[in-house]
Amino acid sequence: MNTAAFVIISIFTLSAAVAAATLQKLMHAALSFAVAFVGVAGLFFLLGAEFVGLVLVFVYVGAVAVLIVFTILLTRRDVEKDRGFNWAGIVVAVAVLAGLVFSIFKTQSFAVTMPQTPALTVKQIGEALMANYVWPLQCVGLVLTAALIGALVLVMEDKR
């Protein structure tokens, strides 16, 4: 039951990711990217991290995918020209995948099933964010503000 859901969501996610990496049209790739992140959020739901899955859907499917689509529309001129494909990249990616899979299968202690624990509530996450992680939270807020101001300054037109 759980395994069936895992297999279906994994195949869905990975095929959407392959589509996002290999499709020729940028707009199709951006939409496949959003679909792939819906699948990753589904895997988070399976792992019992519902809050992170919802955050992933809000941030990636809601914000980052829209940003990518806007950037594609603003840089439309050479959309059709992306025909080049570097074969060395495939070799490196397959080598990395083989190394990772080999080391994962070699490690015996990974072959455990999910322990039964009470579900993590949003109240617990909020309490942890406001108590133990309050300084990291402030720093992330500062980083986000600086990054958004920096992005605005980068794309601002020069006034002459």
Binding site: A21, V96, Q124, V143
Partner: protein, 104 residues
């Protein structure tokens, strides 16, 4: 019968490799950003999986790391896409192979 930690790690490694493939082999800058985002998502999936299968799944440690990583990834995406727009405005292309002014 539930999926083991190995299954989640295999999915995460595959997602990472697909992101690496997109970042290394595509020529358009937006594809490179999409690949980097996929690699970050694979890292987040690893964090959540190790937290859930680890010794203390009742403490929200892995969830915290994933939330902060998502926030940093969002900032990175905003700055990266702004850089793509700026580069396109200067050179009229977003193809990274044609941006070779600093090449020796």
């Amino acid at each position: 019968m539930n999926p083991t930690l190995t299954a989640f790690l295999i999915v995460s490694a595959t997602l990472f490799s697909i992101g690496l493939l997109a970042a290394l082999s595509r020529r358009h800058a937006i594809f490179i950003l999409i690949g980097i985002e996929m690699m970050l998502a694979a890292a987040n999936l690893n964090f959540i999986a190790f937290w859930r299968f680890g010794p203390q799944p009742y403490q929200p440690i892995g969830v915290m790391i994933a939330i902060f990583a998502i926030a940093i990834a969002a900032a990175e995406a905003a700055v990266g896409l702004a850089m793509v727009i700026t580069v396109y405005r200067h050179y009229r292309t977003a193809n990274v192979d044609q941006l070779d002014q600093l090449k020796g």
